[in-house]
């Protein structure tokens, strides 16, 4: 039907990867920077929000409700809302990604904080722990599995979302997907972008899972 079907257009073409290696690495770098930036910024904003939401019951409703509303908004529309203010820059993509990661992170952080047994907190307070030490030495370690679970989900979904950034010209590996589409359905380029995205998501997930193992030696001992 299409003329391209007649020409050789393989799904996998190693020569494409070697030929365009520099471009791929550049785009993957942008992809990683955007993902890491979004998740780190999201975590920095989500933690105080989760602490606030735990403290007061009337704040928890609006915080969770607002974050659900944000997640409902399509990614393309989200970037379109931000772009008129920030232009065709990576900032647009980053702001959108942070907003999405917040949704996941606040929920998981709050669940983690709520999973700390009240008697443990009371015992620590009874031993004279102030709020800061209580958080760092008691609550944070106990809530860590839930925190990391949130970070893992946020990382994986952010890697996938970065691709939508092509609308403002900063989509990381998503650039390859739309680029190949525009270049007469060049499959090798599209597949490289897709496989690259999935690999990045997998690596990020594994790294965080490893970090959890390293940071929570006590749970490892129990499991063994």
């Amino acid at each position: 039907m299409l003329a391209v079907d007649a020409a050789p257009n393989p799904w996998f073409d190693p020569s494409y990867v070697t030929r365009e290696w520099d471009t791929i690495v550049d785009l993957a770098g942008e992809h990683v920077r955007l993902t890491v930036g979004a998740v780190v910024l999201g975590a920095l904003i989500a933690l105080p929000l989760a602490l606030l939401a735990r403290r007061s019951r009337w704040l928890a409703g609006p915080v969770l409700g607002l974050s659900t509303l944000i997640y409902t908004i399509p990614s393309l529309a989200m970037f379109a809302f931000i772009a008129p203010a920030t232009g065709l820059t990576t900032t647009t993509v980053l702001v959108g990604l942070v907003l999405y990661s917040l949704v996941i992170l606040v929920r998981n952080f709050l669940a983690g904080l709520r999973s700390v047994p009240p008697d443990v907190r009371e015992a620590a307070q009874g031993m004279g722990y102030g709020p800061v030490r209580l958080f760092w030495q008691v609550e944070l370690p106990l809530a860590l599995p839930s925190f990391i679970a949130g970070l893992r989900v946020a990382t994986v979904s952010t890697v996938a979302l970065v691709t939508v950034g092509v609308i403002v010209g900063h989509g990381g590996l998503g650039q390859l997907i739309t680029g190949g589409f525009a270049a007469n359905f060049y499959r090798a380029e599209i597949v490289t972008g897709v496989v690259g995205c999935v690999l990045l998501a997998l690596i990020g997930d594994l790294l965080l899972a490893g970090a959890e193992r390293v940071l929570t030696p006590w749970s490892r001992r129990v499991a063994a």
């Binding site: 039907m1 299409l2 079907d5 409703g61 409700g65 509303l69 409902t72 908004i73 399509p74 990614s75 393309l76 529309a77 989200m78 379109a80 809302f81 772009a83 008129p84 989900v153 994986v156 979904s157 890697v159 996938a160 979302l161 970065v162 691709t163 939508v164 092509v166 609308i167 403002v168 998503g174 997907i177 739309t178 190949g180 589409f181 359905f185 499959r187 599209i190 972008g193 897709v194 995205c197 999935v198 998501a201 997998l202 997930d205």
Partner: protein, 238 residues
């Protein structure tokens, strides 16, 4: 602020709504593609999820599927079907969206059916129900809330993702945004974003009401959950 005014002007111009390929046309196309995709996902996801949950098999498969699906960029899925012999256009978009919608429907249905109290299943067996009857008359009604949560998640995702189709020459409301970006017309971009976001939020609300309506027994809208739970707590310790 100037661009917001542009957007309001764009949205207030009846011509932008009714012209060929205007907002109304794109909205109809968007809803047709999304509706079809969700329907296909339902027809595949609910029976498979129900069977797997009923028999208690394939739990690992369902979890794995829903995890992997989160890592695959939706844009990629939309593109991949377009470069197969299916070609680009509404068909490829619908198939991609249906594939994308199956994991949430499947996994929620599975969890819903798995979560049915074993005592209830045993009781219905003791009353002489066969496997089919247990599935349809005992497990299904109890699993409906979870199934509907999956449907809602899937439908909202699909409506939101259908906007991305415009990036790869599929149809739908996303076209207003992509066209706006191409023409450097940020008023149109904002207007498109408003329409798309509004549609997504409306979808969420409509389906929340729908799942309230089809849930047998104790009904609750998502936003009334807290109050209901507290009332139950207040009456239970006897």
């Amino acid at each position: 602020m100037n661009r917001l005014q542009d957007a309001v002007v764009y949205l207030n111009d009846p011509f932008n709504w009714t012209r060929p390929n205007g907002i109304v046309d794109l909205l109809v196309e968007h809803l047709r593609i999304s509706g079809l995709a969700v329907l296909v996902a339902l027809l595949i996801g609910v029976p498979v999820g129900a069977l797997l949950g009923h028999t208690g098999r394939g739990g690992g498969f369902v979890v794995g599927l829903s995890n992997v699906s989160r890592a695959v960029p939706t844009l990629a899925l939309l593109t991949l079907f377009a470069v197969t012999p299916i070609g680009f256009g509404p068909t490829a978009t619908t198939i991609a969206l249906a594939v994308f919608a199956i994991p949430p429907v499947l996994s929620n249905t599975h969890v819903g059916f798995r979560g049915v109290d074993r005592d209830v299943v045993e009781a219905s067996r003791a009353m002489g129900m066969d496997g089919r009857q247990v599935l349809l008359r005992a497990e299904l009604p109890l699993a409906v809330p979870m199934v509907m949560t999956g449907v809602r998640t899937a439908a909202v995702q699909v409506v939101a993702t259908a906007t991305l189709a415009a990036l790869v020459a599929g149809g739908g409301l996303g076209q207003i945004i992509t066209l706006g970006f191409r023409q450097q017309d940020y008023g149109a971009v904002l207007a498109g974003a408003l329409v798309v976001a509004g549609l997504a939020v409306l979808t969420e609300l409509a389906l929340a009401v729908l799942s309230w309506a089809v849930t047998p027994g104790q009904r609750q809208l998502p936003w009334t959950r807290l109050r209901v739970r507290r009332r139950v707590q207040a009456t239970s310790p006897l």
